[in-house]
């Protein structure tokens, strides 16, 4: 529930503080990028809220790193 407060707060803060200057100076590229990041992050928070086992970037990282990590640590013991 509180994450929703955070999402609404973040959107509100961005629209209040950052968007008007960008609109005034017609920086469309930056505006698109800001909206893109916000949408990605909101999507990420939705997956966290609604999925029972949300995807975990660290698990993906762990799959790649663990052979190398194990090798490195075995060097040291």
């Amino acid at each position: 529930m509180w994450l929703w407060v955070g999402i609404i707060g973040a959107w509100g803060w961005v629209c209040a503080v950052d968007v008007p200057p960008l609109l005034r100076e017609h920086k469309i590229k930056e505006l698109m990028l800001v909206s893109l990041i916000m949408i990605v992050m909101t999507a990420g928070s939705m997956t966290y809220i609604y999925m029972s086992r949300p995807p975990n970037p660290l698990v993906w990282l762990g799959k790649w790193i663990s052979p190398y990590a194990r090798a490195l640590y075995s060097l040291m013991s």
Partner: protein, 375 residues
């Protein structure tokens, strides 16, 4: 990227000290005691030494390319496309690092201090402050670091001095009981938690003379001493087995403070130390990733991106850290090697490539100058 508000070397070393202390002061004694038992403090010494070596690499990188951030150095070394790829890797690393630290702090508060508050609220509150600080700019948060520094020293003294009488020397014996290898292993894990490479993004903003040479190394040493003292305190007061069992040994150490038998259990005040150091570390890391993003995408003004990225940090922290078991597992098994790619191997690669490039330019001065004439 030279502007008139540049940090002095002294300010930079204060930032380095805060960065070194960061989250490490809270979690490292556990890892050290787990691997090296009562020799955890020797492992801390070794870890600080390893950090010093890494910092030497950064200083060498900085000697020649003072006015470039890390991402620009990648561009300079590898050209546009490969440099961009490398830069993206670094920026993503910084971003992940910031998210993990916010997650660390959230778990710390939720488990130890405010158990009935939902973790996302604590993290959001934290990120609001950090976003605010990064938006205010480098000058503002470096000034704030100068104000925080004496407070940090005071509180740290308040933490360490009362527990000195409680240290039991027997907890440190026998030394080197399991040989040298566990110390090496523990020291390596320890050094993976400092991630000094982030500070390379701030190079252009530090004044030129001895651009962060003495400052960088001095900061690492002072921060390292703080960490070593904390580890020694933990092992000395609580013993290696108890220390290795804790999630946050320094907090448990603070619970042992008893001044005159009436001022006790003031660990709630001690969390100020960790909040301060973690705030500064995350502020610098977020600023580094925002600067890096700006340089990769050739943006002139990166201020509008800070709030979305800050919000993303909370989301990433919630996704990455589902529970404490996972955190402990990941940190002890995978983090140090992962971090060492970015903190040790890639900078070494950068250094080698940049050195070779410079040699090439030095060896062919005539052809270089004739090329210039053609253009």
């Amino acid at each position: 990227m030279v502007n008139k508000d540049m940090l002095s070397v002294r300010t930079f070393s204060i930032l380095v000290i805060f960065f070194t202390i960061g989250t490490s002061i809270l979690i490292t004694p556990a890892g050290l005691a787990l691997e090296a038992n009562q020799d955890g403090w020797l492992a801390a010494l070794l870890g600080v030494g390893l950090n010093g070596l890494m910092v030497l690499i950064y200083i060498l990188l900085g000697k020649r390319h003072n006015d470039k951030t890390l991402v620009e150095m990648c561009h300079a070394a590898f050209g546009k496309w490969a440099g961009n790829v490398l830069g993206i890797c670094f920026v993503l690393f910084f971003y992940l690092l910031a998210a993990l630290m916010v997650g660390d702090l959230g778990y710390f508060l939720t488990t130890q201090n405010l158990p009935e508050t939902p973790i996302e609220v604590l993290q959001i509150l934290f990120v609001i402050i950090i976003v605010f600080a990064v938006r205010a700019g480098l000058v503002v948060y470096s000034r704030a670091a100068q104000i925080f520094f004496p407070i940090l020293i005071c509180f740290f003294g308040l933490l360490i001095l009362p527990i000195l009488p409680k240290i039991n020397i027997n907890n440190f014996e026998p030394m080197l009981e399991y040989g040298f290898m566990p110390i090496v292993k523990a020291g390596f894990s320890f050094s993976g938690l400092q991630e000094m490479v982030v500070l390379l993004m701030l190079y252009p903003y530090v004044k030129k003379p001895a651009s962060s040479n003495g400052g960088f190394m001095g900061g690492v040493l002072v921060g390292g001493i703080v960490l070593i003292v904390t580890s020694m305190g933990c092992i000395g007061v609580m013993g290696a087995s108890v220390t290795s069992n804790q999630l946050f040994p320094a907090y448990v150490l603070a619970k042992n403070i008893s001044i005159g038998h009436f001022l006790e259990r003031i660990e709630g005040l001690m969390i100020f130390i960790w909040i301060m150091s973690i705030v500064m570390k995350i502020v610098i890391t977020l600023d580094a990733s925002v600067i890096g993003l700006g340089q990769l995408l050739k943006l002139k003004d990166t201020k509008p991106f800070i709030i979305p990225l800050g919000f993303g940090i909370v989301v990433l922290a919630l996704l990455c850290y589902p529970n404490t078991i996972f955190i402990q597992d990941f940190l002890s098994k995978n983090w140090a090697p992962f971090a060492s790619i970015f903190t040790l191997f890639l900078p070494m690669l950068l250094l080698v490539v940049l050195l070779l490039q410079k040699k090439k330019v030095d060896e062919n001065p005539i052809s270089a100058s004739t090329e210039k004439q053609k253009v």
